[in-house]
Symmetry: C6
Subunit: 269 residues, 6 copies
């Protein structure tokens, strides 16, 4: 394996609790090097899943957080001035393409048009990345795969993936885990007992029913783990839920009042 991507190998097995057939399906997609979109709400485990799959497939993982100020050059590379003049430096996407890593574009709808279009020739039968500024056509390493994440809850006409992008990818749906699985995750990651974990999950599930109405998103698994961690550190459950679960997700009095009600329903007043 190329020295440049060795640091991106995931050394030890990440904790990931499968919720369905996603591991099997991803392996089949990888076998064909089919580009994949992971669809699902924030904090439900998409990033953890791709880390787990990279570890399982023994492939390095180069993750890039997309945003509207990320340019195509940030992905692909640029010329930098050296003591002997300008020298080309591969960007993280080019490194992944050349050396055979899984490239993970996190929250791809946030990216600018040029970022999205630059991956088109990588995501069809060509599997090639043209470095126009360098006059080079990089053919993808046999191990290279392109993966993107996408939160359909944020979907709007202004910030949606173009159909010409979507049609180049397969898609796997992600959701918050089932009650029992989520409780298990909170116990393990937050180091609390089953009873506390059950109550925390109960609060989160109530909050998720407000989604799309009072809240853009409900309380995520990640937030439950934060709250559990504070409880295991000795903070009382009401204060822990307040700091880690309710205050972060809303600033509106009414919504906070409703969320505090959920906490009291599970932990007493």
């Amino acid at each position: 394996m190329d020295e440049r991507i060795k640091p991106y190998l995931i050394a030890s097995e990440p904790y990931y609790r499968p919720a369905g057939r996603e591991v099997e399906l991803f392996e089949a997609a990888y076998a064909r090097r089919m580009p994949i979109i992971l669809k699902g709400p924030t904090g439900c485990g998409k990033t953890r899943f791709i880390e787990y799959m990279a570890w399982r497939l023994r492939k390095p993982l180069i993750a890039i957080a997309c945003n509207e100020d990320l340019s195509a050059s940030d992905l692909v590379g640029r010329f930098l001035l050296d003591a002997n003049g300008t020298v080309w430096h591969d960007g993280p996407l080019t490194t992944a393409v050349r050396c055979g890593a899984i490239c993970y574009l996190d929250e791809v709808v946030e990216a600018r048009a040029d970022t999205t279009v630059v991956i088109h020739p990588l995501a069809d039968h060509r599997r090639a990345l043209p470095l126009d500024r360098r006059g080079e056509l990089v053919l993808a390493h046999a191990d290279f795969q392109l993966v993107m994440s996408y939160n359909p809850g944020y979907q709007s006409s202004a910030k949606d993936l173009k159909m010409s992008t979507r049609q180049r990818f397969g898609a796997l749906d992600f959701h918050y885990p089932h009650k029992e699985i989520e409780t298990e995750i909170v116990m393990r990651e937050g180091a609390v007992d089953s009873d506390t974990a059950t109550r925390l999950v109960g609060i989160a599930r109530q909050s998720r029913e407000l989604r799309g109405r009072a809240l853009d998103e409900g309380i995520s698994t990640r937030m439950l783990i934060h709250a559990a961690g504070l409880i295991s550190h000795g903070i009382d459950p009401h204060a822990a839920c307040r700091i880690a679960m309710t205050r972060p997700i809303s600033d509106e009095e009414d919504v906070l009042h409703a969320l505090d009600g959920f906490v009291e329903a599970h932990f007493g007043t």
Copy 2:
């Protein structure tokens, strides 16, 4: 042939299944070096066609994915700093013009105004590319031809080709292939039997009737090949259609429900 464009020669015959007289007509256009627009929906084979024609005509193909952040300098070239000062580097369009390649501007409506205007003198009787920043007028090599692709389904008043651009080009229409041809393509490219390919094509054809209403575009041939590939890898048809055909093209419950119905109609519930 110039060394700089040899890497752009297409080594082996690309698989392309003609749907009409497009090969003959393109050859006549090339004989006159008439600039051509390929019009048609995403994933219907425009890119594959131009690769096939480049191979057939034994001409190198320089493809450029257009986007709103691609500047005229990205196409034409720029000065870069070297150990001895600034040195001019030809962009991919200039390389094609000087050395006699077919230059393919993919999804040209996405390009900025300067990208589109810069090709005007190349697309009329002048066949010349002025490098204003360098003070050079490059006359096109006898083999040079300009080709662009364009998806009229995306056509809007804001992002349309200007008439002064359109009038410099001939245009070839592309559509999804006829039922029998598309089945043949899916069998060959996806390595499935005739029965499976027929069912997949049936689903796609149903989805295409939703185009312009529930969907911006129907399921493309490319997606059918993805699904067929997963089936030939051992994934059951329902899961394969879900990951490769239905989940990528919509996030809306109603539409996904309708698409799942098409899958069940062809592969059983």
Copy 3:
């Protein structure tokens, strides 16, 4: 003549078929070095006319395709880094001003404000180009003339020439040529017989009546020459009209149907 502009001399007489007194009037304007706007629809021969006049007057012609990303620096020049530091490089407008060429700004309404304003002191009694970044005032060579083209059909409040620009220029109107002249041009440039040329011109003239309603512009002379060229290459007239005349100018079913009707009216069904 200065070495820098010799490459811009037009070596052989361009084919231009006058439609009225435009040659005489342009010569009178040039005699006074009066700046001139060529007004008219796309593809009607404005560029060919200025090439012809430049040839006739034995003056070099520097043509610049305007667009909204063309900056004043692109016209005027800039400092570039050399082995010994920054060195000034004249832009194409400055070259024309210093050395005495005709400078032709094609589609000037597309230009940004700074591009348009930079020519003001060149277009009045001063005939001077201030290079502010260099601290130099370049007085125009006695042979220098400024010419711009402009398509009033695109005229909109947002993209219109400012009155302070217009008042510095004289204006010559251009239209598509008269029936007989256009037929003669198509015969000569497209290498077809009189009968075919007459039919092609008939189709174009019908399409031009749709201008401003179904079409932004009708079929131009340039498109007729393309179609004629394909016919003389052996393509049947229906296919040639389709690829070179009707498909490029519209994507709408209704309009294409009407245009196909014009073709059938002239070449049979």
Copy 4:
């Protein structure tokens, strides 16, 4: 401790008067290196609190004032030209991540999207900062913690934290201090007697009831300290309140008249 962050250690104990359990809760959050948002109105003591906690935890504090022109490069670092070519310079966030400081992003809603997204991998289980332009993945020092401040009173749909950001953080609410505590702070920081401090606090509390109606914010503790300071310098209370409390927060005659009324109610006419 790394030499680079020693200057960011807070040498002497900052004056901070706790209003509730915020010290205990922050210490528990820090123990888990949980990222924290400090929510509250301007001038209520958020910055002083984080300075106090950094002093108490004996950790350096790197504070960054966010604004819409602060780019990701300003946080993360950039290549700068040296005598020997370009050399990478860590930005303040990277310094904090590498060396183990508390990084405080003040008024984070003002930041651009790229600034906010760049902290995502630092704010979840990865605790990593990818320097894409350098091809380096910086794993956070064990002492590193991320803290942001946020004024929910400014909350608007256009400038709100994205849910994917919020869900990575815990949140602590801040308010103006209780009457007695605020009086104590004004006495100490402004060097006035108890009677004067009580009157100043009384004026501020009345102004805060106008918040959201006539005023965006009421008079802050910081402003009371300014007024007290002028009084202790010998300026009469009416002039001191005018210059330090009422004239800065509004330009509208009606509002100023009401505020002057509060001053007269406490200090006489």
Copy 5:
């Protein structure tokens, strides 16, 4: 006089025909170095007037055509890279300030905010130009004067001079010259007889009555001189008026018809 501004001295007396007391008033303003705005429609002689005054006062004239892409650096100066590193180059405004020229900002409403604000300290009692990027405060040479031109006919809320700019300047009104004076100017500058000049002026005066309704501006003196020049070159008056007066100022059929009527009224049909 400083060598740098000698090229900006006006060698021979420009032809200027005073319309009122503007010469006397400008001289009084110059005696106090009071900054002056020249207000009036395009092509009425503002630029010629300032050239005449500069010649009369024996002061160099540095004219800058303002536009929305002109930055403060373009006016003030910038660092440029030399063989020995970056070297400061004065911009045209700084040259005028240091060496004592009249600086003429043409069409100042077109300028960006930074261009306008940068002149504020030059236009009040300070008469100083701070070069912030260089850390230098340039005190104006005793001969320096600031003059701007402005067309109130273009006045709109979006592009108006700020009151803080206006209050630093005196203002002189300009209009098209009186009938007799304008005829005299056309005779002299266009080399035509009195009768022809009278007819041309008659057409222009009729067109100016359409101003604000069918036309943004009427036909200017400059255009009359163009038409007269063509007539004296042998072009018939109808063609000369068409090319130099009517076609440049409008593209609308109705307006052109009306303007042609004025021509026919004066020169016959």
Copy 6:
């Protein structure tokens, strides 16, 4: 005193005529190094006041004219390329902070967000300026004070100071001087007799009653001095008022007519 700021010392006493207790109050604010906003209409003497106070306090004054194109780097400093690579150059704000000058940000509402936010840590108890790009935290010199000017008459929702900025500052109100004081100023600065000055002030006071209705601002003291100067130069009062007072502040016929009426009321018709 540091060599770098000596040029900013004000050598001789500026003429300033106090209108109230502003000198005493400013001295008290300076004693506490309290940041101050000077609020008032354009041309009423704010800049002259801060010059006077800087002279009185024997402190250098660094004035910066704010505008929407002034970046934080323009204030704070930047790296410039030298013969030995990039070298940091302090901006004017950093120079004031390091060396102990009064820094005066003129028309601060015009500044961009980053300019305003960059001063926050300088304007609270921290008195520090973080140079993020340089990795340096500059603690303010003991003599440093921050002063801004602001015209509440321009106040709009789009361009208003943020509350978090306002709350860091004290504020002093400025108005046009009282009738007698203004007359005294015009006599002294414009070199006219008491009668003429009284008439000029009378015109100005009438114009100020139109403020907010027909005029954005009335005629300022500065304009009266200009008119008086022309009169003392020998220009008749009507022409002097026209050029220096009425024509600069409006382009509208009705308003100009009204203003001319005020002139006639004081100087006769």
